[in-house]
Symmetry: C2
Subunit: 422 residues, 2 copies
């Protein structure tokens, strides 16, 4: 077992029937990759003893290392534990400590434990027990004399992940001290710059990043630039290389970069508004509450958000936002002038320091020759100054709305004055 590689066997009729999408396999691939352990192959079988036996035996013979997910519950169709125990020639024995913990767990919830749960405390003789902080079925690890091993994990994603993070990673890392470097990613998130322009602007930097690879991932929120170290570098070298590449990209792209990895534009806008002491109100037409919804998905939006107005009718634009009827008549609801008056109006009417507006045609109906579907105007009014932008957005209704919301948030971000703290 020179190579740090495992096979994954996912067990469960619901996976083959398609009632459940197996997200565990992809998660394990990513998680093990971060410590330089490769997933060499995956198999998915139903709750059938012979199929589980075949898949695990093949994986042990081929790769010598297997992680099973699923089939560890207390019901008769949960076969993973007895089948794998018999492959390793072990009996199932009752573990007193596990049984006591199981009783405590049910007691704490004021539930009488059903008798079939006792099987949860049975383990193959000699197995290593990995505690499950999220549920009743512990992780188990069986090893044979040739150094081959099988790790059994529950299929419930939260439980599986907790056991991997808490125990399995340590076990694998100790087992393969000489494994290759980790697979590490860094995502630099940009908005307001098309993929082709972005690629051109950083073209000369890419060779200097090697052996890191660069992928451009365009989406409705903008283009993500993903830097990856694929295991060729040890961790102590990979991390600083990613930092350096990130810094070079950020310097080159300036305000187009709004965050990193999982960081969302609404998080960045929220933090910056609070830091600058600004209050915000929204006037949304085609985005229909999407920006308000995204800002209030996070707790703490009440620190800066005063009001959001979804102005679907022209009357509402006039009465609640103070858009002038002449403006609507002369330029239409989808125009820069209307966007400006919406942003300034919602700001004034609600006493906010910043106002943000979106008006456009999300489709699929409503487009005209001069204002096709995807025509969107956005405006941000911060204190005395208002900026207006015209957008022509590609995609279907959902995409036009997402892109419009993202562009509006990016425009607002560019107008938030730096806080004293920053």
């Amino acid at each position: 077992m020179a190579e740090a590689a495992v096979e994954v066997v996912a067990i469960g009729d619901e996976l083959l029937l398609g009632a459940t999408v197996d997200a565990n396999g992809a998660w394990l691939g990513r998680r093990l990759g971060t410590v330089g352990v490769r997933v060499a192959r995956r198999a998915t079988v139903g709750d059938v003893a012979a199929d589980i036996r075949d898949a695990v035996t093949e994986a042990l013979e081929r790769t010598g290392a297997v992680i099973c997910t699923g089939g560890l519950g207390p019901t008769p169709d949960d076969l993973t534990k007895p089948v794998v125990a018999s492959i390793f020639g072990r009996e199932l024995v009752l573990d007193d400590a596990l049984l006591a913990a199981l009783y405590r767990r049910f007691e704490e919830r004021g539930i009488r434990m059903a008798a079939n749960n006792r099987t949860q405390a049975e383990v193959p003789a000699g197995a290593i027990i990995f505690p499950n902080p999220r549920g009743t079925a512990p992780g188990l690890c069986l090893e044979d004399e040739q150094g081959r091993f099988a790790i059994l994990l529950p299929g419930v994603p939260a439980e599986m992940r907790a056991i991997v993070d808490g125990s399995v990673i340590d076990y694998l890392v100790r087992r393969w001290p000489d494994r290759p470097g980790p697979i590490l990613h860094r995502t630099v998130r940009t908005t307001g710059i098309p993929e082709s322009t972005l690629a051109q602007r950083i073209d000369d930097l890419l060779p200097t990043f090697e052996p890191l690879t660069v992928a451009f991932l365009p989406g409705v929120s903008g283009v993500d630039v993903r830097l990856t170290s694929w295991g060729g570098l040890p961790e102590a070298e990979a991390a600083p290389r990613l930092d350096a590449a990130d810094a070079a990209l950020s310097e080159r792209l300036g305000a187009h970069v709004y965050g990193r990895n999982e960081q969302d534009l609404v998080d960045v806008v929220s933090e910056r508004l609070v830091a600058a002491g600004l209050t915000l109100s929204l006037a949304e037409s085609c985005t229909g509450g999407l920006i308000a919804k995204r800002l209030t998905d996070r707790p703490g939006a009440s620190r800066f958000l005063l009001a959001g107005i979804v102005s679907y009718s022209n009357d509402v634009k006039v009465e609640l936002l103070g858009v002038r009827p002449e403006t609507l008549r002369a330029h239409g609801a989808v125009s820069g002038e209307t966007a400006r008056e919406m942003a300034e109006g919602v700001r004034e009417r609600t006493g906010a320091r910043a106002g943000l507006s979106v008006t456009g045609i999300a489709g699929p109906e409503g487009g005209t020759e001069t204002k096709p579907v995807g025509t969107v105007w956005i405006a941000a009014a911060v204190d005395g100054a208002t900026e207006v932008r015209h957008l022509r957005l590609p995609g279907d209704r959902a995409e036009v709305r997402e892109r419009g919301a993202q562009a509006a948030l990016a425009l607002l971000l560019s107008l938030i004055p730096p806080s004293e703290a920053a």
Copy 2:
């Protein structure tokens, strides 16, 4: 090959690395199930010729029928076609019709075709070609003299699904005329009734549904009741049995049933508002625009939606919605009285016939002993009448918001007068 069963082999490094979650496997399980074909096993391998060869050969020997997804593109890491061709002892030959179609496709887009795309027109000699209406790589099917077969499909989900729907299902159905009945589901969607109450209320019906099984699927939108025929009945019997069980459930549960299968509550509410000729305005506090966003996700919301107001501050509740300061002082922003004045206020201020409001504590902060996190008040005002409801919702911030929005929509639905057409 008496049994109508296939194995699925998914091919691609990105699947093992976890960059992509394989949703194709679950989709195939469901889709083939609808015509009585079972997925017996799945394997996932990387872009490695030996691994693809092993996995496909094993599946052919075991089950005699295999569907491969992925690895059909024009780049050098796309190995599925040559490897499977060699398993069947076939050469790759250029198909003139495919090549011509390929040139046309690029021409139509005004792009000059890169030379490596020519490989897309190469097929194993004697293969059946399944057209790809969504992309450049067609589906391919190879058969041997023992009646075993391998179907090769692209990994891009939209392309894979289009080829399965357009060609593969027909092929499998013709191949196995005596297969078992289809796996068919019917989901009856309910809201406003807890799982335990629901289960009790329909308990006596369940034995009459056999052999259909019943599953209760609680979620933030309410409890879905899923009826399934698992293949024991031929299609001609299964469909009427599902209809009858659906009708019995719907009669028993009355207004708690709002839709079927993929139907969403916002769709039902939207249709009913339009049919009844009602206009609607929203006043959202803790849901922060979520209801407005959901209603405007669909085109056509402008037929009934006048305005949505996200009133995050008390000042906005007073100034834009007309909530009385005394009400806020005496009962607080999260109260039945405030919910009532929000719904009635937004209705009057915007000239809508219906007003809907939500005010509550979504958490994680902001809860008190008398008003813990999850305390939500909703109100619906339709023409002259207003209904107010108090909710204590479980879950985290996102769940409280989703459940609150769903409950408000259900309350509104119960107050929409039947239209003349209905």
